[in-house]
């Protein structure tokens, strides 16, 4: 960290952006891949944990505690802890990111399924649904808003954490931030941060829309609370 920032250095040198279009495109793909795969793997694991928790209630506390402990570990520390075992790069980042999604997703899946009214479950049972089919067609369906909202929080959180993952060499927008930091050159920092925020906001909006499409019945009751 040598050399002070020149007093006339602008926050963004706009020419930098077209000059680095190819790198920006590559970083976008990396950022999306790492986010998408981490949330997807996390969702599968969290869903399994949630089904175990619902079947055997007493396991929910311990499972949530494990997910909570993973969540409390600082991101840089967790990435760093994995490096000696899984190396610098994609895999270390992904294991850490998956572990961060678990708490958010587990809580939301369980809360969503718990929130299904008993009367509805009884009615489904009375109509002759088998337990498995009822779980898929009724419980999960009605829990969709809460589950999607968990996916939304997890995705937006992970997009932010992927920037930190760049420090262990996994690519993405964090590479620009890291580069700008080490050269004390603000342009890549602003570009990296701006793109990461834009991606987070885009996914936030996308999930709100997905939720609307998937759960038309909530639209009627959605307004009074706000």
């Amino acid at each position: 960290m040598t050399g002070l920032l020149a007093a006339d250095e602008p926050l963004v040198r706009w020419q930098w952006i077209p000059d680095h279009a190819e790198e920006i495109r590559a970083a976008t793909v990396e950022h999306l891949q790492l986010t998408g795969s981490s949330v997807a793997i996390g969702f599968v694991i969290a869903m399994a944990m949630a089904m175990v928790s619902i079947r055997w209630r007493f396991l929910y506390g311990p499972l949530a505690a494990v997910a909570g402990a993973l969540y409390a570990i600082p991101s840089l520390a967790l990435f760093a802890l994995l490096v000696p075992f899984t190396g610098l790069g994609y895999r270390s980042a992904q294991i850490a990111l998956v572990s961060y999604t678990l708490l958010i997703l587990l809580r939301n899946i369980v809360a969503g399924i718990d929130g299904v009214p008993q009367a509805v479950k009884d009615a489904a049972d009375g109509m002759g649904y088998e337990p498995w089919r009822r779980f898929l067609a009724v419980d999960l369906r009605l829990a969709t808003p809460t589950i999607v909202s968990g996916l939304r929080i997890a995705t937006v959180t992970i997009i932010g954490l992927v920037t930190v993952a760049a420090l262990v060499g996994s690519g993405g927008y964090g590479t620009f931030i890291d580069d700008g930091l080490s050269r004390q050159f603000p342009t890549p920092i602003v570009v990296g941060a701006g793109l990461s925020i834009a991606m987070a906001v885009a996914f936030d909006v996308l999930f709100v829309l997905v939720q609307r499409v998937l759960t038309p019945w909530t639209r009627i009751t959605a307004s009074p609370e706000t």
Partner: protein, 254 residues
């Protein structure tokens, strides 16, 4: 960046980590773990206290007036989208240019913005969720608005307020680690040095200490919350904030 170099995958790194942690040289001196730990805790406490002073009064006021719900939701959503790493990096050049230097101040500014939303939103939600009948009863007994807020609403909101402070504190302790990137000497410093020099024993040792510190913070606040509000189990109270419909799931963010 070859993924295989330096990956031992066996237990020698753990042995190195243990050696590092048991050598007295690692603990004492200008860059010893004791100094780093103290810096880490000092900045974290300073940040959380500053965030409490700034966010609790307006949150109480908006909550009392039962206004600003939209602000609360927006604050949470924005804060979730903005990576702290990016803020630290962005503040850094300006901190240098305007004479605040390396380390403490750029890290503080970024952490401060990280710490605000959970405290604000949880305090706000805590006050707005106080039973209206209780508030009306307090007014009917002749309490002034100030007294209603401080003697009725504030104590009732205490479990959620404490939850907000806990979430902030854990996030701040965890994220202070990143201050090492802008020259703040904290427990993140040995992690970065170790990553740069492939001294993975040191990385594991420091990362474990940060993780323990962060878990200890979580645990300490859970105990404190139980003390402060013995009538309400904090986990029961927080369940309501997480209702996704309001979007104010403040406790779920890093």
């Amino acid at each position: 960046m070859d993924a295989h170099h330096g990956v031992t995958g066996d237990l020698t790194v753990l042995q190195e980590a243990l050696d590092y942690l048991t050598a007295s040289d690692s603990w004492w001196g200008r860059n010893g773990l004791v100094t780093l730990l103290w810096n880490h805790v000092r900045l974290s406490v300073f940040t959380v206290v500053a965030a409490m002073l700034v966010s609790i009064p307006p949150a109480l006021w908006f909550g009392h007036r039962r206004r600003g719900g939209a602000i609360a939701v927006t604050v949470v959503n924005i804060s979730r989208a903005v990576p702290t790493f990016a803020i630290i990096a962005l503040v850094f050049p300006f901190s240098l240019r305007y004479g605040f230097g390396l380390g403490f101040w750029p890290t503080f500014v970024a952490l401060f913005f990280l710490a605000l939303p959970p405290i604000f939103v949880n305090t706000f939600t805590g006050v707005t969720e106080v039973d209206r009948d209780v508030v009306e009863a307090a007014r009917a007994m002749g309490m002034r608005e100030r007294e209603v807020l401080l003697d009725v609403e504030l104590p009732a909101a205490m479990p959620l307020l404490a939850t907000g402070v806990r979430i902030s504190a854990v996030q701040v302790v965890a994220t202070t680690t990143l201050g090492a990137l802008v020259g703040f000497r904290c427990l993140g410093s040995p992690i970065l040095q170790g990553l740069a020099t492939r001294d993975y024993g040191r990385v594991i040792a420091a990362a474990t200490l940060v993780a323990l510190l962060s878990l200890a913070t979580e645990f300490a606040f859970a105990l404190l919350a139980r003390r402060l509000s013995p009538w309400a189990r904090p986990d029961v109270a927080t369940a309501r904030v997480r209702t996704p419909r309001t979007g104010a799931a403040a406790d779920l963010a890093i």
